[in-house]
């Protein structure tokens, strides 16, 4: 089975704004194989959430979508809502950023968690309750049995996020999209929830699209990474490579901007000059050209085509191979990229993340699972 | 017009109504109170644009004069209620403590008594009349404005710039005058417009019941009462006063909505 689970080609999303229609997603190509973990990284407003919503068909009514979204061989773009409803929660699921407001305050937990099951499998109340308990146990919600009839306001943010994850995975979807699932949580909780996510995904052989602005998170969590800027994917490749040897000037800037523990006093934080332009005001050609330190006239000609840097690693920069080697391991301290096979030591008690041999041949030697924390 | 349809439409209607009032002060087609029995219950014609009522009075003139009454009662009742209510609300917000609690409990309590009920009670005690109507509607407005100004002022008092003013030694009166009032003005203006509309409806209902202005002062509400008596002979009598009331209330409501959108975008609801 060589066919990818998700094949997105030339995805475009137009949104209405105060200044007319703007293109929020500009020709994004994305490919996810069965069981593969992919990260989408970028600042707020770069279009990553819009991309995710486009995949789910949950964009606002006023949005326009162009391009192709093929999921398991079927074209999703232009599909009517009824057909999308059958996919959502069952074959493709999504977890959102803000757990505090994501759950209906009037419904008991067992109903919230079992909702996809009741919708897609027609479960009755009793079976739904039993399933809900099983799901809540799987996400390790403490005292799940006593909490079946509890309500959302009785849970903390981290617990609500677990409930959301449990609900998303209820029907065993093939693809899970997680849009900044830990951004709203405390740092200590972030690792827990992310690790949970990783384990569940690996156990089920599910594909994962993880969206975040957090580099460290990405490094620990996914095998392949796409970097987005102003609606376009500017760099793509295995997580380890992109983070250790960033090619695109934007990616370099992102990584260089990470504060380093143990840096000598007086070292200034590196920043990327300028600000992300409004979508209506993007420069001609390369979207990053007005902030780039290596810009030349040819950069304004048009959106650069991807330039291959290494195996599976490409960047949309016409000067990518001319720029200085950026492999500076000390810059990526603290970003523990993946090594194949999950052979690293685990603290006791944590499930060992194993690559799932039955998940298909889509994985070409890149890694699966999550590293130790 | 496209951007502020409510404001414009409301403004037009209210302007019409005010024009009617102004015109009626100078001229009406016939003296409103002039009784002309031989010409009673006439249909609209060139001589009487909207016809005559059961006593031969010209309807158009009555309508114009009635506009005066509703304006008067509205201004008096809402004006008195707004002034006193706002004063109380500002006081409560500035002083807090037991005064605040007491005032707000009283306001809450009086919400159980709509204007009409108060008017009925006052009429029972003191007899019907225009002052009863004004007092009853005014009392209701007092409660409304006390509540609204108290909560709006309370929000302003907790803002940082007020804290800064207090740190500079400004006393409560100065802060209320210089900071609180300007910031709640928009809310109050919008509410006053809407309360005006409510007042017109209330005055009409009271006059209909015979508890409002006494004859010969004309009132749209009382015209409807008389129209109902002659429902079978002259059904058209019931139309005009009702339309007049509805248009002026509609105008004020739309104006209020439009003002709300204009004056404070934060207040504007999803339309």
């Amino acid at each position: 089975m060589d066919a990818a689970l998700l094949e997105v080609t030339g995805l475009r999303v137009w949104l209405p704004s105060a200044r007319g229609e703007v293109e929020a997603v500009r020709g994004v190509d994305l490919r996810i194989a069965r069981g593969e973990t992919v990260g989408l990284i970028g600042e707020s407003g770069c279009g990553k959430s819009m991309t995710a919503l486009a995949l789910m068909g949950l964009l606002p009514d006023a949005a326009r979508v162009g391009g192709s979204i093929r999921f398991d061989g079927h074209e999703l773009a232009g599909l009517d809502d009824a057909a999308m409803c059958r996919l959502r929660g069952q074959r493709i699921a999504m977890v959102f950023q803000e757990p505090m407001t994501a759950l209906d305050p009037l419904q008991p937990l067992w109903k919230l968690v079992s909702e996809p099951l009741r919708v897609h499998r027609g479960l009755d109340a009793r079976s739904a309750r039993a399933e809900a308990l099983r799901l809540l146990d799987r996400v390790r919600l403490p005292q799940a049995a006593q909490r079946l009839d509890a309500h959302a306001h009785q849970l903390s943010g981290g617990q609500r996020q677990r409930v959301m994850i449990a609900a998303a995975l209820a029907c065993g979807p093939q693809l899970l999209i997680a849009d900044e699932p830990t951004t709203a949580l405390d740092a200590s909780l972030q690792r827990e929830v992310l690790e949970l996510l990783g384990t569940l995904v690996a156990d089920a052989g599910m594909a994962l699209l993880l969206i975040s602005h957090d580099l460290a998170l990405m490094a620990r969590s996914v095998a392949r990474v796409l970097v987005m800027y102003a609606g376009s994917v500017v760099e793509e490749g295995p997580a380890a490579d992109v983070l250790a040897r960033p090619a695109h000037p934007y990616t370099r800037g992102l990584i260089a901007a990470r504060p380093r523990l143990g840096a000598p006093r007086g070292v200034r934080l590196a920043t990327i000059p300028g600000r992300v332009p409004e979508l209506a005001d993007l420069p001609a050609g390369c979207p990053f050209s007005d902030r780039c330190g290596w810009v030349i006239d040819a950069c304004h000609a048009g959106l650069p085509a991807p330039v291959e840097i290494g195996p599976g690693h490409a960047a949309r920069c016409i000067r990518a191979d001319q720029l200085p080697e950026s492999a500076r391991p000390e810059l990526v301290e603290g970003l523990q990229p993946q090594r194949a096979g999950g052979a690293a030591a685990h603290p006791p008690g944590l499930r060992q993340a194993q690559p799932d041999p039955s998940a298909g041949s889509g994985r070409t030697g890149s890694v699966n699972g999550f590293g130790h924390l | 017009m496209r951007r502020h349809p409510s404001f414009v439409a409301g403004g037009v209607l209210v302007a019409l109504w005010l024009t009617a009032v102004l015109v009626s002060l100078a001229w009406t087609p016939y003296p409103p109170a002039e009784i002309d029995i031989p010409n009673k219950l006439l249909l609209p014609s060139a001589a009487h644009w909207l016809g005559t009522d059961s006593l031969g009075r010209d309807i158009a003139s009555l309508l114009l004069a009635g506009a005066r009454t509703s304006l008067l009662v509205g201004v008096a009742a809402v004006g008195l209620g707004a002034l006193s209510g706002t004063a109380l609300g500002l006081l409560a917000a500035a002083r807090r403590g037991w005064l605040d609690e007491l005032l707000m409990r009283c306001a809450d309590f009086s919400f159980a008594f709509p204007a009409l009920l108060t008017a009925l009670m006052l009429a029972a005690l003191y007899g019907p009349g225009v002052s009863t109507a004004v007092a009853a509607i005014g009392l209701f407005n007092l409660a409304v404005f006390a509540r609204i100004s108290r909560s709006a002022a309370g929000a302003v008092w907790s803002r940082d710039f007020v804290l800064a003013a207090r740190a500079c030694g400004r006393n409560r009166l100065q802060i209320t005058r210089d900071h609180v009032l300007p910031n709640i003005a928009a809310v109050l203006i919008v509410q006053a417009t809407i309360q005006f509309a409510v007042a017109i409806l209330a005055e009409a209902a009271l006059s209909y019941l015979g508890l409002g202005v006494r004859p010969p002062q004309p009132s749209w509400g009382r015209m409807l009462n008389e129209a109902q008596e002659f429902m079978f002979q002259a059904p058209q009598l019931a139309l005009y006063p009702g339309i007049a009331i509805a248009l002026s209330v509609l105008g004020l409501n739309l104006l209020g909505d439009g003002l709300r959108d204009l004056l404070d975008p934060r207040l504007a609801r999803e339309r």
Partner: protein, 280 residues
């Protein structure tokens, strides 16, 4: 004991003493309150009957009227409000909003008169006034209550429809609606399973507040249709300067308002578990 204009001063004095009218107002007020506490509503001077009896009799008209009007209001407002929210930014929404603006501007007694003109005078489907009484069965009684109930309900429904619409629109913007959609629910399913229940919270609150307006409206509407209910009773009592009756009925109204608001609070607590928690 009743007197006429030929009464002597002594007889007048005796009557005053009998009715307790020779006492200063505060004393009379206190005695009235004491009487209320005992459940004794006093005796009507004008009708020469215990007030309690009068009220019970008039309630037979006002209570059904209020209930039917409330039912009409709720049905119409919920249906129109949800419809408008579902057709947001399209013609349906604008239409409902325009209708509700009209509904709020129209005086309820004028609307009542128009209803009489059309349905009673022209079409003759319903009586133009008066109450048929319950003795002949429910149908004639309800027929005489239908037009009044519609007149009462119209204005309330206009306001409540707006409240419903904005409540539904607000709830549809909540994150948990998106979560439900991500689980595969259709828009309609989301509406029924999640939105309506949540929107009901502000709507119920407003319905409770509207009760006072319902009472006021009932007074006016009863006058229009000459229905012998509580509203008309207050009215006639004022004309007769029968202060006791007015006091008692007004007190009854106030008590009803308090009771209704309390009931609404209970309903809300049952609906929304967060409120239950707050009360603990």
């Amino acid at each position: 004991m009743r007197l006429d204009t030929t009464a002597t001063p002594e007889a007048l004095e005796a009557l005053n003493r009998q009715l307790g009218l020779d006492q200063p107002p505060p004393v009379r007020y206190a005695r009235w309150l004491a009487g209320l506490a005992r459940g004794d509503l006093g005796h009507s001077v004008a009708y020469d009957t215990p007030v309690a009896e009068l009220i019970a009799e008039r309630l037979q008209v006002t209570l059904p009227l209020a209930l039917v009007a409330m039912a009409f209001t709720t049905l119409a407002a919920l249906a129109l409000g949800v419809y408008a929210a579902a057709r947001h930014r399209r013609l349906g929404d604008a239409g409902v909003m325009a209708l509700s603006q009209l509904g709020m501007a129209v005086p309820n007694f004028w609307f009542a008169i128009l209803l009489i003109l059309v349905f009673a005078v022209k079409l003759q489907w319903f009586p133009a006034g008066g109450f048929a009484g319950w003795d002949d069965g429910a149908v004639p009684a309800l027929r005489s209550l239908l037009l009044p109930a519609v007149a009462l309900a119209a204005v309330q429904a206009a306001i409540l429809a707006r409240v419903t619409r904005s409540a539904v629109l607000e709830v549809m913007r909540e994150d948990f609606v998106r979560t439900a959609r991500a689980h595969g629910l259709t828009q309609r399913a989301v509406l029924w399973r999640h939105v309506l229940r949540n929107a009901l919270v502000p709507v119920l609150t407003v319905m409770g507040l509207q009760f006072a307006n319902l009472i006021t409206g009932a007074i006016v509407v009863e006058k229009v249709f000459a229905l012998p209910g509580l509203g008309l009773l207050v009215f006639q009592a004022i004309a007769n300067r029968d202060l006791l009756v007015v006091q008692d009925v007004v007190m009854l109204f106030a008590a009803a308002v308090i009771a209704i608001n309390f009931a609404v609070d209970l309903l809300l607590a049952a609906l929304d578990p967060r409120l239950k928690a707050a009360h603990r």
